[in-house]
Symmetry: C2
Subunit: 321 residues, 2 copies
């Protein structure tokens, strides 16, 4: 794929506003929760965006709905329906969208993803193929199959309609929270954080959080563009992407202000605190942004008003206790 | 205790508004979530009040904070601190309040309550005494101990300050939802539903939901006042009260419009659907109100705008899957 012109963000605020109008009937407006100082091990108050309550359990549904609706109106979705590779959450989102809009769906997921993600995809009636390895292995198998089936490839992050869909979360936050300073977001392939950054641009600080075991966004910032890294760790099923998306990079390079990493232990501790204090079951990737605050990987200024995206729920509850 | 004059509700809207001002700094404004038609097995949209995200995992914190703050300002809380009997949620709330306001707390809970409730109470530093049986057995032991210790008895429902505190949830709903028709609420001893009914009075319909295995509110309506019933079933740890509170009755008789019961199977099904579709861990008593809609125990009119209180989270996640 040719490298896009990275001098201009691939997704503009107008694209995100249009996505919001398009997907509104098919996604949930997820709630926010204000958490006071002293809770969740934090010294200062914070607002949690409970995006884990989205359909199919993560923000991925926003992008998948937007991409599929656009492709449907362009006549790009045939009898073979939708196909996608995914650590699990995007697959569940595509399966949900397929069922909701009446398209068959076939999902390729890596063997390293938890069984509960496979079960969730299958609960929406999609076909699941499990491939040995991580996301990129599943993606390679998916590309091969798509060439034969002719289904619409719904890439988890490398498409402007996906990024624009994910960005609709920040429109809701603006409406729900009003003024704030900083949005803290986990990053995998970069579609989620790119969507938020493309909406808020320079109006808010955007902080990227990655596991130290999978840090393709931080690597891209240091390298001056996407570059391959190795991936592993507790959050690999949602954040374990080897290379930041090229489209995401056109946005991230301009509008992500800081990039931090957290340990797997910090992610586990964040999951436990969300269970202990809020009884929320949050998957590792969904808890990573909070982990950055709790662990001190990101240290806010006094009075800095912070929103943390809690963005995925699909894991075995026994693993968060 | 003498029977209060039941011609006049024991708690007035002004009491609830005052409670809101008093407790605001110590409770969470819990979010609402709109759920569309076709979700959670429902034919029509519904709004969920996610009160299970309250401190200590249930609405009980509202009443416990209000009662304790009032008693503290009246000089009624001494070195012995707070004492309470509880199926678990009220105990966790009193333990939370004790730690937050600097009072020791001692909780009596029945052996039939789950271990996770005991652990939550202990996590706030309270002393826990487990008594064989159900709530009323724990209450008897608590009364005996209170006579010796002189701690402030924080009754789970038979006190106007408790009922007024619980009613603050409906102030939030009015602010969050705007106009709606019907509030569906689970009932145990009646403090929670009485608080809501005392606030909304005749502006909304209030529907009471009880397990068919523990139906002291329905019995009171049929008997013309509180009367003793037997209690058992999956929700007994939160709704298993043998006799409706006398103070609650002064409100319930005027402002609860309908009383329905649900089976234990319907409660389990509601818990499973909340897990499957929203990844929320909801205890049986917290899922009972939704079960009334799902099972058809309560059948809304076409277009009836409904709010369902999802009011408690303290259970083993393995039990909801």
């Amino acid at each position: 794929m040719p490298r896009p012109d990275s001098s201009e963000p691939a997704v503009q605020p107008d694209d995100i506003a249009a996505a919001m109008d398009r997907i509104r009937l098919h996604v949930r407006e997820t709630p926010v929760l204000d958490v006071g100082a002293g809770q969740l091990g934090l010294m200062a108050p914070v607002t949690l965006k409970l995006e884990l309550l989205q359909h199919a359990g993560s923000f991925k549904t926003r992008g998948a709905v937007n991409r599929t609706l656009l492709a449907t109106s362009d006549g790009e979705v045939g009898a073979a329906g939708l196909i996608a590779a995914s650590g699990g959450n995007h697959g569940a989102a595509v399966a949900y969208v397929g069922r909701r809009l009446g398209h068959p769906a076939e999902i390729f997921m890596p063997s390293t993803s938890p069984a509960i993600k496979r079960e969730r995809i299958e609960s929406f009636g999609a076909i699941v193929n499990v491939i040995d390895g991580y996301f990129d292995d599943a993606y390679a198998a998916c590309v091969e199959r798509q060439a034969a089936s002719g289904a619409l490839m719904v890439h988890p992050f490398e498409h402007a309609a996906i990024i624009a869909g994910q960005g609709t979360m920040s429109i809701e936050i603006d409406d729900q929270v009003g003024d704030y300073d900083t949005l803290i977001v986990a990053a995998g392939g970069g579609g989620f954080i790119a969507g938020q950054a493309a909406w808020v641009r320079d109006r808010r600080r955007v902080v990227s959080v990655e596991p130290e075991t999978s840090q393709c966004l931080k690597a891209a910032r240091e390298h001056g563009g996407p570059t391959s890294v190795s991936v592993s760790g507790v959050a690999a099923d949602s954040l374990g992407t080897a290379r930041l998306g090229e489209l995401a990079w056109t946005i991230v390079q301009h509008h992500v202000d800081e990039s931090v990493v957290v340990t797997d232990d910090a992610i586990r501790a964040a999951q436990r605190s969300l269970w202990d204090e809020l009884r929320l079951v949050v998957e590792p990737g969904g808890a990573a942004a909070l982990a950055a605050l709790q662990s001190g990987a990101y240290v806010p200024e006094p009075g800095e008003r912070i929103v943390v995206a809690v963005c995925g729920s699909n894991c075995d509850p026994a693993s968060v206790m």
